[in-house]
């Protein structure tokens, strides 16, 4: 069993690549971006992964569901309700069903399984925790909930620090711990290290579980040629006082990492990362087509499985 730790869109692409190899896969997904909007529980990263795996993702927008319409949103706007978060009509169904499951007393893990089963998703999609954890970003205007910073403020405010509310009281689910323990390969997807992978790693017990895992642990660089494919990774790393470089990312994971996948554009950093005592593979990590996604997944499996 391959285990992939994933945030949103970038992670979802690699998880889709893994699913195309038909290797049995579990993905552990960040839920610290989750929030409540219109009274619904929205899990943006779980949704990105589910939509990627069920081929429902919108390929142009890069988020949400393809062939989407926005009539509920327009009507909410007509009602002078909150309309800064773009919830499409098809997407709404996901949040309605998830919220209903949670209100009936199901865990987020159970609700996710129910949604994935209906979409006939083969990959085992696991929220990192069933506890509510909330990413907040410190900016010159104060602490902002993640979605306010990310969507409403369009990542414009400078990031001074990041915190994950309630994470000290949270725990990984038993499913997550079992997956890590029995994995034959663990992959950290090319997701934002600050707000997508860090919350997963900071759930108490997660880093210890990764250190104790018998499987090799491999991370894929979220940066290509000094830039993120999507999202504010560069700005966040800089805001927190780090160099925005794959070396920073590899160092962060050093305590449990065995291998690192570097984009071929960043070849010149290979030795520096190898000096962190990591086995480094360079390849094309930009996943535009399904073929790219599968190829990256296959290269990783070939090298470390």
């Amino acid at each position: 069993m391959i285990v992939a730790l994933s945030g949103g869109v970038g992670g979802a692409k690699l998880v889709r690549g893994l699913s195309l190899t038909e290797q049995p896969t579990t993905t552990i997904v960040n839920t610290a971006d989750d929030f409540t909007h219109w009274g619904l529980h929205i899990s943006p990263d779980l949704d990105s992964v589910m939509y990627a795996l069920s081929d429902l993702s919108d390929p142009v927008r890069g988020w949400g569901v393809r062939e989407e319409s926005w009539n509920a949103l327009k009507m909410v706007e007509h009602y002078q309700g909150e309309h800064w978060f773009q919830l499409g009509d098809r997407d709404l169904a996901t949040h309605l069903i998830r919220t209903q499951c949670l209100n009936e007393g199901q865990t987020l893990t159970q609700a996710t399984k129910r949604l994935c089963n209906a979409l006939e998703i083969q990959v085992n999609v696991l929220p990192m925790s069933d506890d509510l954890i909330q990413t907040q970003v410190e900016t010159p205007q104060g602490w902002l909930d993640f979605q306010i910073y990310f969507v409403k403020e369009c990542c414009q405010p400078e990031v001074k620090s990041v915190r994950f509310q309630n994470i000290e009281q949270s725990k990984p689910t038993q499913d997550v711990l079992n997956a890590i323990e029995s994995a034959s390969l663990i992959i950290l997807c090319p997701s934002n290290p600050v707000v997508s992978l860090d919350p997963i790693l900071r759930v108490p017990g997660m880093e210890m579980a990764l250190q104790a895992a018998s499987a090799p642990v491999v991370a894929v660089s979220p940066l290509i040629g000094g830039r993120a494919v999507k999202g504010p990774t560069v700005e966040m790393l800089k805001g927190l006082g780090f160099e925005s470089s794959p070396v920073t990312v590899a160092s962060r994971y050093q305590s449990f990492l065995n291998g690192f996948v570097l984009d071929e554009q960043d070849q010149q950093l290979k030795t520096e990362i190898e000096n962190l005592n990591l086995e480094v593979m360079t390849t094309n990590t930009l996943m535009s087509s399904d073929e790219d996604k599968k190829q990256l997944a296959e290269s990783i499996l070939k090298a470390w499985l």
Copy 2:
């Protein structure tokens, strides 16, 4: 101030007619059809009235919002969720905002006001009660919640009796009692007498308030030539052992009624109803166009205001 007691579509038409006369109007609306679906609080009769007053009603379907789409519903079906109740995407916005208001601790009266204000509705739309009341219909297959009988079972099961769960513990709102007390004319709209008007009348204190009102109380027949314009009025009256006739309806309201509006097709019943000590007007009560609605409203106002 005109006060109109209304159920769904038929009542909503006359309330719209009253609004077109520009006479200040309050409508007291049945909420015993309310139910929870997809975790949302749905108030079908409040919605029918709101949509009619804001010119959002779909004129062809006869219910719901015009220019509607059904993409959330199709996606819920894809998820193998409950899809027997047709919730359109634009309609969903109403239920999302109402549910959020209620979850924040607002009363149904407050939530309704918030929705009506945004739609710039001039008529004062009041739920009959802020308490949850639930119509159930006894059929050969047992007791069914109203929407199961009405929508899922398409009114097919025979109706043996009807009950309103929780109605004994409910009360009318102060807004409702004030409206009745200060009304200059009270109109019972041509709504289903069994499941639309009866729940309003059976909220403890309502009939007494109508009897005590200084304004004349007038009912519009929900039957034309022995048939209902829409809905299972005839079947229900018969199922409960009543003759399906305007006389039955007029008799039901006799304790507080002063006048009755009979369709001109039912002219032959005029004397029988007058014998109930009621002033009877005959006119065209079929409201197809806005002009019809306004005309019926004007005739009533002319006769009794």
